[in-house]
Assembly symmetry: C2
Homo-oligomer: 636 residues x 2
C-alpha cells in the first residue's frame, strides 16, 4: 500500500549554486517523512466526467465486511495524489498538473512574456545557509488572462459556460450518491437551497450568483478543483506557515500533506519572516488543494517590518509575485477603514488580526484612508487576470467574548459587502472572512448580517471560539462555534489547533485541528440536511451495532486512533470480532441484548408498529422470545 | 504547595483478616498517586455562611499580576479537601464529614438500628485475592429519615425551610460576585429565570418548584453541597467505574479525585462485574461530590447476569444497600415500559442504554410491565428516606444519529414526566436523563419536550453526540451538542471521553473529558447570560491582551497544558514576560500594535466614539500617534 518515493535523482539545475544544492539535498533527505499511501481501510477510486471525459474525480472508498451486505461508503477525498498508490511522489518535482490542458484548451490564458523574477527582498534578504532552498520552477510557465476574454470561473458562469472545473466539483459534491437509494431529506437549512443532486449547471448557477467559488489560480494547475458555498458540503481550511521564530521548508510541506491527508480542503500559508517566497513555491507546487495567503504579511517583510512604510507599489508587486506563483486566494483586509479604527479603542482585546492591525497602524500613522480600500479596483484587476479569489479579511474581528459583534466588527462587515459588489463587477470570485471569538448566543447574528450585507457571498469563519477560558483546548472551544455557524450557513471553517494563542502548531496539532474541524463541518452538513451526509453516519452506526469493529474503525475519521483506543484494553485480534467491548464486558452488552430484542420483535413490529398494536402482540412475542432462548450471556 | 499524604499508620482493624489487610496495604501503597495540593496558580479560599455560620464554602482564587490592578478571579471549586493544603488526606480513613452536624441538628434523621450487612453477592462472590479490600466502615453510622418528619431537601423547601445545604449552594453559585461591580446581563436564556444574585430563598423556591435538586444522601456527609437546575451554573458529571474486564480500587479512587480536581461536579460509579460494593465504599467515603449509580447493574450481578432472573426483591435490596452506603442519586430506568420496547425494533442501533436493554429484555421475557414502573411508589419511599435523588434514566435514548428523537425516545420521556410527579408527591428530588446521539437540528426539540412533559425538573444529558463518524473523538462530537443543550436549558452535562464506544477511559481520558465538558458548560453559561460567567473570560482576555502569560495560563482551565504548549516553542523564562509569542514573532504582533492604537486613540474615543466624531478627529490623532513614536518593533 505504501508507494515508492522517487529517489532524489536531481534534474538539470543550471542556476543552482552549491550551497543551494546542499540545502535542497537536505530537503530531499526529509521527503521520507512525507506521508503517502492509501488511508487505512480505504481505497482510492476515481469517477470520470461526462461533459469532460478527461476529468477524474477522486474519492476514498471504504468497503465493509461482506456480512453487512452493503455497498462501500464513498467519502470525500482531499488528500490528492499522495494517497494514490499508482502515483510516484517527488516533492522536488511537484505534483502532476491536473488542470493544465483544460485551461489551455479554453484559449483564454497565455504565457506571461516576462514573468517577475525572484528578488532578494522576496525572501527577506536571506542568504547562504539562512536561505531556504529554491524549488526548481523551470517547468512552471506563468500564465495570465488574455485581455478581453473571460478568465475567472465567475465570468464563465455569468456567460453561461460550464467549465471542466464546474463538472469536477459537481461530481465531487455528490459522493456518488446517484448510486444510492434516494435519501429522506431531514434538516434545517435556514434558507439555503441544497439540491438533492448537484448538477454542473447548478454549480454554474451558484457561481454566477456569487454564492459559491472555485478557488484556483490559473498558475496552480496542480489543484483538484473544489467548491466553497452555502449549498455545498461545508469545507475546512488548515493554516500552516513558518514564522520568524520557527519552522522550515520540509516541515511546511509535511504539514501541508499531513493536513490534507486528514481532510483539509484548503490550506493557508501564513508564513512570516524570511524565506516566504521560497517556502511558498514548495507548498504550491506540492499542493492539490487551493492555497491561500495574506499578501500584506510579505509586503510588510519587504519594508523591514515597518507598517508605516508600506506602499501600494510594494503591495501591488507582492500580489503579482504571489499570483504568478499560483496562490489561489488572497486575504485582503480592505475593510479596515480609517474611521473604523477608533471603534476598537475600548475593546478588551483591540485588533487581533495581524493584517487588520498592520492596516490600522498604517491608517493612523498617515491619517489616510487605507490604500487597500482606495486601490480596491486595481487589486480586482490583478486578481481577475489569474483568477485569484478574494477572501475579504475581517481585520476587525473580535479577539475575545467581550468584543463580539461590536460596531467595529459590523462596520467592517458592511464594507466587505460593498467591496464584494465591486469585485464581482470586475469578474472576481469572492468569499468573506468572519470571526473569531463569539459566545453561542451571538453566532447566528454573524451569519444573518453576513448574508444580508454581503449578498450571499460564501462566509469563511475562524471558529468562532465560544469561550476564552481554555487556552490549550481552543480547537474544542471553537469547534462548538464552528459547527453552529456551519449549520447556519458558513461555507468554510478555518481550523483552530490546540496551540492557538500559545504557539505554532506541530504535526499532532495540525491533525487534531483538522479532525476536530471535520467533525464540526460534518455535524453542520447533517444539521443542514445535506443529502450526502448521513449515509456515512448510518454506515458507521450499523457497523457499531453489528460489532463490525474493523468497519467501525475504518469508517471513522481516524481509524488508527480508534483502533489504538480499542486495543488499549482489548488488544487481541479475536476481540476485533467479539460481540462486546471493554466498557461492559462480555456478559453485559446492551447492543447484544438489543439485537436479541430486534430479532424477536422484528416480525411483530413489521406488522404494524403502533403502540396499541405493539401492546396487543406482546404476549405472543414474549412466548417466542423465551422459546428462542432468551439468555443474556454471549459466548466468546 | 503539595500537602503531605498521611503515612499509612493503620488504625484499629478488629475484623480485617490478613489477606484483606494485604490487599489494603496494596491500596495504601498506591495512595501516593492520589493528586493533592492546590491547583497551579490558585489559592483555596472559603466563604462563611450568614444564616449558618458553620458553613464554609470553598472557592479557587486566582490572583493576577499586580500590574493588572485587578482583584483575584473567583472560580467554582469542586475539588474538595484534596486541594486544601491544611487538610491531611488519607483515603483509608475517608474525607471529613462536612454535613454531619447540620443533618443531625435537624433531628429528622436517626441511626438505623440494624443496617444491612455486606453479603457475598454484593461483591459478586469474589473472594481471596479476587476480593477488593474493604473500606473500614466502622466510623460510618447509617442514618434514615424519622417517620413523619421531613428528610429531603424537596420536603424542607416545600415547608418553607431554608436548610444549610441551601445557603451553601447559594453562596457557591454566586462566585463572590457580590464583590464585583454589577454586570451587564447579556444572553439568551430561552425562558429560564436566572437571578442577578442567588439568595438562599431563591434556592429554596427553585427546589420547592422541582426545578433544582441538591443531590446528597444523608449517609454521604462528606459531600460539599451543590445544586443542579436550569437557573444555576451548568454542571458536569464524570463517569468512572470498573468493569468485568478492567480496573481496580485505587484506579477508581484516583479517577474520582482526578476528575473532581479538573472540575467534575458529580461522579457516577458505573462499575459492573465483581467487587461493586467494596469499590463503591472507597469511592463514596473519599468523595466530596455527589455520587450516582445505576442500581440495576449491581442487581443484575446478584442474579448471575441473567436479566430474566431479576426480581423486585433483589432490586429493592440493592437500593437499600446502596442508600445505606451513601449513594446520592440513582439512575432508575422506570420509563422503559413493555409497550415501548417494540418501538425500538427498527432502529439502526436498537437500545444502547445498558439499564434500558436489561429492562427491555426482562419485560419481553416475562411479558410483563417493568417491575420498576409497577413498584415506582415503593422505590420513592426508599429513596425519600435517605434523600437519594432520582435520575430518571433514558433507557431508550438514541444510540445513533438515525435514531434521534424517535417515538421510542419520546414515549419514554413522557413517561418520565408522569413519574416525576409521583416522585414529587412522595417528597423526592428528581432529575431527568436525556440523550445520546442527536444531530444539531434536533437538539432543541429534546429540551423543549423535556420542559413540557417533565414539568421543568432538571435535565441531565449525555452529550449529545452530533455525529457518529468520529470514534476516538466523541468528547468533541458531544461537546458541540452538550454546549448547545446546556444553553437551551440542560442543568447537568454527562461527559463523554475520547474512549467512548471503544474502551474504558484512563486517567488522561478522564481529564480530557472533564476539561472538554467544563468548556461546554461554561460556553452554555455565557450564552445563557449567567451573571457570574463572563468575568472569567474577560479576566483571561485582558491578561492575553496585556501579555501577562502567567495569568493567562493560571486563569485557563488547564494551566499545565497551556504552559507546556507555550514553552514548546518559547521555553525561556524571559519569554513569559515577552510582548509577543511564537505565532508571529517579535516584530509582528497584532496585540502590540493594538495596544499602540489604543494608547493613542483612547483620548479620542473617550470624547465620543461615534463614527462621525471619530473621523473628524483622525487628523489630530494621527499627528499624535506619529509624534508618540509609531514604530512597530518591540524590544525584546
Amino acid at each position: 500500500m505504501n508507494i515508492v518515493v522517487t529517489p532524489p535523482a536531481l534534474p538539470e539545475e543550471p542556476n543552482v549554486d552549491l550551497a543551494l544544492k546542499d540545502a535542497r539535498d537536505q530537503v530531499m533527505r526529509e521527503t521520507g517523512t512525507i506521508p503517502t499511501g492509501e488511508r487505512a481501510g480505504s481505497r482510492k477510486v476515481y469517477v470520470q466526467g461526462e461533459l469532460y471525459p478527461e476529468i477524474r474525480v477522486p474519492f476514498r472508498e471504504v468497503a465493509v465486511h461482506p456480512s453487512a451486505n452493503e455497498p462501500p461508503v464513498t467519502i470525500y477525498d482531499s488528500s490528492g495524489p499522495y494517497t494514490d498508490p499508482t502515483v510516484s511522489i517527488d516533492i522536488k518535482r511537484g505534483l502532476p498538473k491536473v488542470k493544465s490542458s483544460w485551461q489551455l484548451d479554453r484559449g483564454d490564458i497565455a504565457p506571461v512574456a516576462n514573468p517577475r523574477d525572484v528578488r532578494p527582498e522576496d525572501n527577506g534578504h536571506a542568504s547562504g545557509r539562512h536561505l531556504a532552498p529554491r524549488f526548481d520552477t523551470s517547468n512552471h510557465r506563468v500564465f495570465k488572462g488574455v485581455p478581453g476574454r473571460p478568465v475567472t470561473q465567475y465570468e464563465y458562469a455569468r456567460q453561461g459556460v460550464i467549465t471542466p472545473e464546474m463538472e469536477y466539483v459537481a461530481i465531487r459534491e455528490n459522493l456518488r450518491r446517484e448510486q444510492s437509494a434516494p435519501c429522506v431529506r431531514d434538516g434545517e437549512d435556514f434558507g439555503a437551497s441544497i439540491p438533492d443532486f448537484v448538477t454542473p449547471e447548478f454549480v454554474r448557477q451558484e457561481i454566477a450568483r456569487g454564492r459559491a467559488i472555485i478557488p484556483h489560480n490559473i498558475n496552480h494547475p496542480e489543484v483538484e478543483p473544489m467548491i466553497i458555498g452555502r449549498n455545498f458540503l461545508v469545507k475546512i481550511n488548515a493554516n500552516i506557515g513558518n514564522s520568524a521564530v520557527l519552522s522550515s521548508v520540509d516541515d511546511e510541506v509535511d504539514k501541508l500533506v499531513w493536513a490534507t491527508r486528514w481532510g483539509a480542503d484548503n490550506v493557508m500559508d501564513l508564513s512570516t519572516g524570511r524565506n516566504i517566497h521560497n517556502i511558498r513555491d514548495w507548498i504550491i507546487r506540492n499542493s492539490s488543494v487551493p492555497i491561500g495567503t495574506v499578501p500584506i504579511y510579505q509586503a510588510l517583510e519587504k519594508v523591514g517590518g515597518i507598517a508605516e512604510d508600506l506602499t501600494w507599489e510594494v503591495y501591488r508587486d507582492t500580489l503579482i509575485e504571489q499570483a504568478e506563483q499560483g496562490v489561489d486566494y488572497f486575504t485582503i483586509h480592505a475593510g479596515v477603514r480609517l474611521p473604523f479604527v477608533p471603534l476598537t479603542a475600548n475593546r478588551v482585546t483591540g485588533i487581533v488580526s495581524r493584517g487588520g492591525s498592520i492596516m490600522a497602524k498604517w491608517c493612523l500613522s498617515h491619517h489616510r484612508e487605507s490604500f487597500l480600500y482606495e486601490h480596491f479596483a486595481d487589486i480586482c484587476e490583478i486578481m481577475r487576470a489569474y483568477d485569484v479569489s478574494f477572501s475579504l479579511g475581517d481585520g476587525l474581528r473580535p479577539g475575545s467574548i467581550a468584543d463580539a459583534n461590536d460596531e467595529a466588527q459590523f462596520a467592517e462587515l458592511r464594507t466587505l459587502g460593498e467591496l464584494t459588489k465591486i469585485a464581482w463587477d470586475h469578474g472576481c470570485q469572492v468569499m468573506i472572512e468572519g470571526p473569531g471569538h463569539v459566545p453561542m448566543h451571538k453566532i447566528k447574528a454573524n451569519m444573518d448580517e453576513q448574508l444580508k450585507h454581503c449578498h450571499e457571498a460564501p462566509f469563511y469563519t475562524l471558529g468562532p471560539l465560544t469561550t476564552d477560558i481554555a487556552p490549550g483546548y481552543d480547537h474544542i472551544t471553537s469547534a462548538i462555534g464552528a459547527a453552529m455557524i456551519g449549520w447556519f450557513g458558513t461555507a468554510m471553517l478555518c481550523y483552530v489547533t490546540p496551540k492557538e494563542h500559545l504557539g505554532l502548531p506541530d504535526r499532532q496539532d495540525v491533525k487534531d485541528g483538522v479532525i476536530t474541524y471535520k467533525i464540526a463541518a460534518h455535524a453542520a452538513d447533517l444539521a443542514k440536511g445535506h443529502p450526502a451526509a448521513r449515509a456515512h453516519d448510518d454506515a458507521l452506526s450499523r457497523a457499531r451495532f453489528e460489532f463490525r469493529w474493523e468497519d467501525q474503525f475504518n469508517l471513522g475519521l481516524d481509524p488508527e486512533t480508534a483502533r489504538k483506543y480499542h486495543d488499549a484494553t482489548l488488544p487481541k485480534e479475536a476481540h476485533k470480532t467479539a460481540h462486546f467491548c471493554s466498557m461492559c464486558g462480555p456478559k453485559f452488552c446492551s447492543m447484544k441484548i438489543s439485537q436479541d430484542i430486534r430479532r424477536d420483535a422484528q416480525a411483530q413490529n413489521d406488522a404494524g408498529g403502533s403502540l396499541a398494536e405493539a401492546e396487543a402482540g406482546m404476549a405472543e412475542m414474549s412466548a417466542k422470545f423465551r422459546a428462542g432462548g432468551g439468555a443474556i450471556e454471549v459466548k466468546v
